[in-house]
Symmetry: C2
Subunit: 295 residues, 2 copies
Amino acid sequence: MDNDAYLDKYRSYVRLTEERLLTLCDRYLPEQAEISRAARYSLLGGGKRVRAVLVLSSCELAGGDVDAAADYAAALEMLHCYSLIHDDLPCMDNDDFRRGRPSCHRQYSESTALLAADALVTAAFEVIANAPLSADSRVRAAAALACGAGARGMLYGQELDKHFEHHRADAEQLLSLHRHKTGALILAGVQLGCEAAEAPSMLRQPLETYAREIGLVFQIVDDILDVTSSTEALGKPVGSDAENEKTTFVTLYELDGAQAMAQQHNDAALAALEPLGERADFLRRMAESLLVRNK
Amino acid sequence: MDNDAYLDKYRSYVRLTEERLLTLCDRYLPEQAEISRAARYSLLGGGKRVRAVLVLSSCELAGGDVDAAADYAAALEMLHCYSLIHDDLPCMDNDDFRRGRPSCHRQYSESTALLAADALVTAAFEVIANAPLSADSRVRAAAALACGAGARGMLYGQELDKHFEHHRADAEQLLSLHRHKTGALILAGVQLGCEAAEAPSMLRQPLETYAREIGLVFQIVDDILDVTSSTEALGKPVGSDAENEKTTFVTLYELDGAQAMAQQHNDAALAALEPLGERADFLRRMAESLLVRNK
């Protein structure tokens, strides 16, 4: 797969996700409610849709119905968006901008943002419950999403992130923070793809290892970009980690060390895909693009 | 069914719910996370468990397995508890007390309370996804819960409630507010009970009408108690509605009018149960107890 073919494929997954999100918003987030309008403002405001693309590409790799899996992909993006809205609130990171636009509570109000995010997490589970896949697939998908998103997954990561604003994290704690905060939903991406395709465990295990590794690559590169990129390119302020005296992969390992570490986790991701042969080419390209991204 | 038999039954439903909540907390809200400890603080802090009792009694009425339905009952209480925690936050009602104890964000912190509630809503859907019932029952239960809790249900009610802090509500708007804010989860109670029992629609329709009516009774009596009861009896400040210049059933209809209205909705609830005969006796007693409650 050359780079053009990869980009075409990526864009087609994003397009499918965006279309499905619109359809599902009309069904579950009707515009007469302000909280629905606020949810749409944040949800439909762009983004890389990495998690959705993982759902769709894992599903396709496992021979599943990509169109049906788009409901799971959309649900995961809804859940991710809810976590960003709550993360931006004044009592959390107090971020005024997200993706180059005012964050939800700045555009609307704090109470509206709170409830808009609540509406998104609820809609995510409603979308899964009503997806055009078998009931067995849907309950397993809901369980996987809840596990990744809950107090043993992403939310625990958000707690750790808040905690380590005021406490110095060591290397192990930083890894645990990111495995929970970002990694758990990246992992849920391939899990939802596998549930959509009802994939056998010989496919699931390599895909899950791959997801765990690229989840770390993603975060390490985030930390690097906070030092090396520009506010314009990222659509959010750079240098905020240093300003907040946050422990990051860069503060622990310097730029070169962090870059080497990202490379190492990328290698581990690729090694996991080895047994899957050519059909994992898209995921290989995707790992690379996460490693060398500049925004 | 005499009053003692009713109370015994009610207590047995509450006991089953509390036991199941403890088991499920150990599984889904492990105590090493502070957000889990905060979630347990609010979740296991008592309450009437009206919604859980509706799940269990509807399930039993429809001939289902009450023990299996306890997972749905627990999930609904988790979801209700999350809504209370977010409702108490400074950007919402800014309430310092709940059930006679400091509210979650007063006992912990605002960020911990935010995430604790998020953990509860997520756990609610995880509990349903993994409940010991058929996959068909579980996806329908998840869909019903999400529909009642989301932007077309409870969350829209929370938005209306916030909106009408600053705007005068007329009678129709007040009804809509409460049908969404409180009514939607009361309705979800009987729906989850019916899903647990895989009840036929000839049972569902009377039970749903009953739930809609007692949901209003519940709220009207709440408004009455805010005027007539004591802070000690309620475990929360009385007179807060008047202080906040809130439109309530009492401000619209005076005490006598509100009392008559509660009676009228109670009568409608009982009328709906007519076709179900004796087996609905528990629900009849329950409606009465909601009507005459003093806390």
